[in-house]
Symmetry: C2
């Protein structure tokens, strides 16, 4: 999504050219290209698929809506397996319309994961609960802290359910460093993602994730924390930014790789 202006074949070629060894994919572009075709394209290029984004949206109260969400998550797990990644990232979902019950929504997420985790485990896929910044708590994800994500993940085996650690969502939280250590010790950091925090936030606050190095987050310090917690998996850069998306995709990808080296390694 960082360079969503690039079609999948161009993205894969550019990653190879730049020495980027893996890519995190999103479901929509993969579905549009064809899941098996995408798997072949990426595999033939020698790249790994780091994660698939995203499953989740598991907070529905209505039984039919809930069944549809569970079915869609099983499809996402199947897609992840086809792509050859071991991790499906979950954006858990916000409050249903009219509801003010955060606790109930969080418990429905845990109940849904209880149904999905064995299905994922049988297919070699780990679910990564991603805490989203508290500004998304109402409409996107009621799991707002790494603490909350781990409290749910720890109800399940670590090879089935863990967390996604994304600097954009947790950088402000003084309890997050200890939670990174907790997650690492339990083998539950299933992916690590970087983005910087830049202001002012745009309307809707979805597409204002900053290029690494442009904002308030000490990305290297977070990388070191995740290292110290024992994490050895891929590091993803995930920017959603209308300004960046308006730029030339290849140039943006190159800049992002350079910023990664400068501010995270």
């Amino acid at each position: 999504m960082t360079v969503k202006q690039l079609p999948l074949p161009e993205l894969v070629e550019a990653c190879v050219d730049l020495g980027i060894p893996g890519i995190g994919l999103w479901r929509e572009p993969v579905q549009n290209y064809g899941v098996e075709s995408a798997a072949k394209l990426v595999g033939d290029a020698g790249l790994t698929v780091t994660t698939l984004c995203r499953g989740g949206f598991l907070t529905a109260i209505d039984p039919r809506e809930r069944a549809v969400a569970l079915a869609d998550n099983r499809t996402a797990i199947d897609e992840a397996a086809t792509l050859g990644t071991d991790t499906l990232v979950l954006v858990s979902g916000g409050l249903p319309a009219g509801s003010k019950d955060l606790h109930g929504a969080r418990e429905r997420i845990a109940d849904a994961i209880a149904e999905l985790a064995p299905y994922a485990g049988e297919r070699g896929i780990r679910l990564a609960i991603e805490p989203l910044h508290p500004m998304y708590a109402a409409d996107r994800c009621v799991i707002s802290t790494l603490t909350q994500a781990l409290d749910i993940a720890e109800r399940f085996p670590a090879d089935q359910v863990g967390v996604a650690v994304d600097t954009y969502h947790i950088w402000w939280d003084d309890q997050a460093p200890a939670q990174v250590a907790r997650a690492g010790a339990a083998g539950r950091i299933h992916t690590f993602q970087l983005a910087d925090w830049t202001t002012p936030l745009p309307e809707g606050v979805l597409n204002g994730r900053g290029q690494i190095g442009d904002g308030a987050i000490d990305t290297r310090e977070w990388r070191e924390r995740v290292d110290a917690a024992g994490y050895t998996g891929p590091i993803e850069v995930e920017l959603f930014n209308d300004v960046l998306w308006a730029r030339d995709g290849l140039e943006l990808l190159k800049e992002t790789a350079e910023r990664f080296v400068e501010h995270a390694l």
Copy 2:
């Protein structure tokens, strides 16, 4: 600020008409009207000044900037005393330009409060550290949770330093209810403010605080929590909202009073 379209005399008259017993004032309109004149206007009408907003912005590294901020806070304390309120709300400040050091900024706030608290105490003013929503951590307030605010407040006597509990900033935090109890037990809830969480957030995320009842927050549940913690002080409604500000101020004040009764009492 909820009805900033109303000049101070009209606001005072409307509060009396509606049976609203007190008002929280902001420094700028009070300074424009004259601090002593404002004190007389409000006092003659039989209203109390619940709090003065706001001091703070205490994170500067530069010694001269820091001295200016401390002097301005002493002025704010003097203004609060003149107005006859017992509470000055602090918006503590964001990261200085170029800094990524949240911990250092929080410690500078504590150091500044150590200088201001005795000055405030001598004048009968309590400082209320307001945790702001984490979406303001970079540019407005590095104190993002009630836990952090209390950790600093507890370094000082409760009659000098406490916290402001504002539903808009803490509603998403599953640790906040226990922190409300902690604050109440220590006599450190120095004000309680209501606003609702509505989406989408506007650009800059400053002026999108929702009318009570319009959003995701169970305001009555929070009022009950604050009650249970032993708080008996005023309940303020603080909305910053461009859409509400464009409406007729008297109509908005009446609606707000009705919503308060409907969703908080």
